[in-house]
Assembly symmetry: C2
Homo-oligomer: 100 residues x 2
């Protein structure tokens, strides 16, 4: 029997990605600064993890102007939601096993 | 309020490390090959993640001979157990929040 970790999704290994996804799972469009402040990370690190999730098709980006200021927001895609849900289920299984 | 991911331990980000720790949490000395087969990883990748956990003081190593064959085993240290337990608690919190 394969170990549960084989069901964990490599794309969500890093805790910043867990954080981004767990915020977007329960929100609609969320802007870059909100993610940055909530997760307490630098612009560069956040941008690189966002890009990775976008490349997987797990989040989508919207760029627009709010007044004269450019504003970039993100939300989870249906496939991102499904993939993250599968990851959470595997994590839950792992938690239950580790507690036994 | 800081996001839950700030309570996640960077040392356990990678799923192979989650796998190693979750096995050792519920076992006594476990040898390299058992970990390797259970987690379905290559020697090199397993060795590098083991080394990282050892460096943190989260697991300890025992080298001995079983008959004429060298045998290397690992077990979790008390500080590893405590750190991983904290990580699991934070993951649990994250799971609960993401489900809401």
């Amino acid at each position: 029997m394969k170990h549960i970790i084989t069901k964990l999704n490599q794309a969500f290994d890093h805790r910043i990605r867990l954080g981004i996804m767990s915020i977007l799972m329960v929100s609609d469009w969320t802007d870059f600064n909100t993610l940055k402040e909530t997760l307490d990370v630098t612009d560069g690190r956040l941008a690189s993890h966002i890009k990775a999730l976008e490349k997987e098709g797990y989040i989508e980006v919207r760029k627009r102007f709010v007044g004269r200021k450019p504003n970039t927001s993100y939300r989870v895609t249906p496939s991102g939601r499904e993939a993250f849900q599968g990851h959470l289920n595997a994590l839950e299984e792992l938690l239950n096993n580790a507690k036994e």
